[in-house]
């Protein structure tokens, strides 16, 4: 190290220093880990602790106090990330490893009707229920959501009413799902009597959760539409409503659909509201408006609640199917988003 360099910059640890300390921390923590038979997690935790002490300490000796604090925070930030991702990996691993053995053709194509004891049974009725209820919720919330977004962007502009609605939409995203379920229950019980349960009630509850997401995402997309397009249309004498339907909507359709699909993937896993208003039944029910209708999340919950080995197995199988469904929807949303990504340089 030359003297000239010393004067311009303070001494720095070499780039490979964190790596070296990391390996040493693993080794140091490994000793008691082997001696007292800790698990992998405890070993890694101890290694992290050693690293979080050793790295700043070394830095303190060479680079000074401020750099040491920086090193410590960097360590903590990295650690917090690893910590947060580990439950995700754990959950996914458990769902896949426990769920995969439960899944076969019969599991997907039979219901729980007349299934007694340890017979396998299946999720067909729940899958159908989930698709129907989610479809109904989508049919209710997409028009309302998109029209509201059109109002906010094209009509409301900066008016007080529009600001209030934007604010309410934000607040609405925070409604607990079970409250949405209770609302639908109250509404329908008031009309049809205390024993009323139906898939449609579930759809109403889900729409309450879905509308704000659709409004926010479509609103954002409409705002992205360049104003030149609108003005060009007006200049040609096209009325406003046709401009919106023929120019604004088609231009932003990709983003809007992406938003809708993401909204669907959010509500498809909702359990609490459906538990309350759609209930559960063993067999297939394809009538949204009459009678209990099992959905996949509720099926998982009721099988978990049965506390039997076969029940747990069915629950994990259902969970795997549900996760795959959610992931596929997310993927579709991403693909649509990419295909329709606003083309640059028109």
């Amino acid at each position: 190290m030359s003297g000239a360099a010393m004067q311009i910059a303070s001494p720095r640890l070499p780039r490979w220093a964190p790596g070296l300390v990391g390996v040493m921390a693993l080794a140091v923590a490994g000793l008691p880990a082997i001696l007292s038979g800790w698990g992998v997690v405890a070993w890694l935790l101890a290694a992290l602790l050693v690293f979080a002490v050793a790295m700043p300490l070394w830095s303190r000796l060479v680079e000074g106090r401020r750099a040491a604090v920086d090193r410590l925070v960097t360590t903590l930030v990295w650690a917090s990330f690893v910590f947060a991702v580990s439950p995700l990996i754990w959950v996914l691993w458990v769902v896949v490893s426990q769920g995969l053995p439960a899944i076969n053709v019969d599991f997907l194509t039979t219901s729980m009707l007349n299934v007694i004891g340890d017979e396998q049974g299946g999720i067909y009725h729940a899958l159908l229920g989930t698709l129907l209820v989610t479809l109904a919720a989508t049919i209710i919330s997409v028009p309302i959501g998109i029209l509201t977004a059109i109002y906010l962007v094209e009509y409301g502009a900066r008016s007080r009413a529009a600001r209030t609605i934007t604010f309410l939409v934000d607040v609405m995203t925070g409604i607990p799902s079970i409250v949405a379920g209770l609302f639908a229950l109250s509404l329908f019980v008031l009309i049809f009597g205390p024993a009323y349960r139906s898939g449609f009630g579930g759809a109403v509850a889900l729409s309450l959760l879905m509308i704000p997401t659709v409004v926010r995402s479509s609103e954002e997309m409409f705002r992205l539409v360049p104003s030149d397009l609108r003005e060009a249309s007006y200049a040609l004498g096209v009325p406003k409503w046709r401009t919106i339907l023929r120019v604004v909507l088609p231009t932003s359709i990709g983003g809007v659909v992406t938003g809708v699909v993401l909204a669907i993937s959010r509500v498809i896993g909702e359990t609490a509201p459906l538990l309350v208003v759609a209930g559960a039944t063993d067999g297939v029910n394809t009538n949204l408006f009459d009678g209990r209708m099992t959905t996949l999340p509720v099926f998982i919950f009721s099988q978990y609640s049965s506390s039997t080995p076969i029940g747990y197995e069915r629950a994990w199988g259902g969970a795997l199917v549900l996760i795959v469904l959610v992931m596929v929807l997310n993927l579709i949303a991403r693909i649509i988003g990419r295909i329709f990504a606003p083309a640059k340089g028109h």
Binding site: A79, L88, T148, G156, V179, L182, I300, A319, L322
Partner: protein, 318 residues
């Protein structure tokens, strides 16, 4: 904004033409849709109030094993606050750490992937978290809770009374809640962190600040109210989350502050999910009444959160 201002003008100056009838009709449809949002929120309140009203002042037997609405809901409120507090206390440092990691620490190419991973965490349905919490996490966290009881049992939150025999405590439920609200807090704080003016950050670095000092003096002060808002939104979510608590917790009617004890009362939301099935019409009203309380509480929390965020946005716009 300019794009929307100009069409308004053309509309007001033009003479009535056939096409304007279409315009008026469409405008009316759009307005109706927008005001349905308002109507829906009012309807939630009104219908819960109508159906739940008798639940507030029913005959004592309805509230068994308690005798009035207040004594019935008190243990539920205490548990709801405790579980949400655990969730927020655990989730906030991690969320801020991850948000910082994605916005300022991770290699640029990695950060997009990482952001996606956190979004993935948000996409996992709550019932799956509940299943995992009940079957795996509870047993895994049980020894830790025994340790907490042995060493910190003098604190009201970790004693008295024996620690949980199977991990089905409010503590475990709170941890599951923490994992569930983490993506929300992370997403919002990340967004505010990214919005920190580049100029401030570069100025700090140019003055010789380390990366942490740059974060501390340029990023965090800028993002403070955004972070408060994010935490409030996370709190709102934790207050209303149902399945994770319902599937993990072993319950008791007795109010307790001990979060690692044998059992705790369920949260308001979990109590509804656990009791709706066998509910008589009277109990159903009672459950809806507790739901109304939950709705008002989460509404207020969200209201304040959005108000803080809005004030911040207005301040930044100036």
């Amino acid at each position: 904004m300019t794009a929307t201002a100009s069409p308004e003008r053309t509309e007001s100056t033009g003479k009535p033409r056939p096409s304007q009838r279409g315009d008026r009709a469409f405008a009316a449809i759009v307005r109706v849709a927008a005001f349905m949002i308002l109507a829906a929120l009012v309807a939630v309140f009104v219908f819960l109030a109508i159906e739940g009203w008798s639940g507030f002042t029913d005959v004592p037997e309805t509230y068994a094993p308690f005798t009035s609405f207040l004594t019935y809901i008190e243990p539920l409120v205490v548990s709801t606050i405790l579980a949400s507090a655990i969730a927020v206390i655990v989730a906030v440092p991690f969320s801020i750490g991850i948000a910082l990691f994605i916005s300022h620490y991770a290699p640029r190419r990695l950060s997009a992937v990482l952001a996606y991973l956190v979004d993935l965490l948000a996409a996992v349905p709550s019932v799956v978290f509940g299943l995992w919490g009940g079957r795996y996490l509870a047993a895994y966290l049980q020894p830790m809770q025994v340790w907490l009881h042995d060493h910190f049992g003098f604190l009201p939150f970790f004693g008295p009374g024996p620690p949980t025999p199977n991990g089905r405590s409010l503590f475990t439920a709170g941890i599951v809640l923490a994992i569930m609200i983490l993506p929300i807090i992370t997403a919002i704080t990340r967004e505010v962190f990214v919005q920190t003016p580049r100029l401030h950050e570069e100025a700090a670095l140019a003055l010789g600040a380390t990366r942490w000092e740059m974060v501390r003096y340029a990023v965090l002060p800028y993002a403070r109210s955004g972070m408060v808002s994010a935490i409030m939104l996370g709190l709102g979510r934790a207050l209303g989350e149902t399945m994770a608590v319902a599937m993990v917790l072993a319950t008791t009617p007795e109010t307790t502050l001990n979060v690692i004890g044998v059992a705790s009362p369920p949260t308001i939301a979990a109590n509804i999910a656990l009791n709706y099935k066998e509910a008589t019409p009277q109990r159903q009203s009672l459950l809806i009444a507790t739901g109304l309380v939950l709705f008002v509480a989460t509404f207020l929390v969200n209201y304040v959160a959005r108000w803080v965020a809005g004030r911040n946005a207005r301040k930044m716009a100036r």
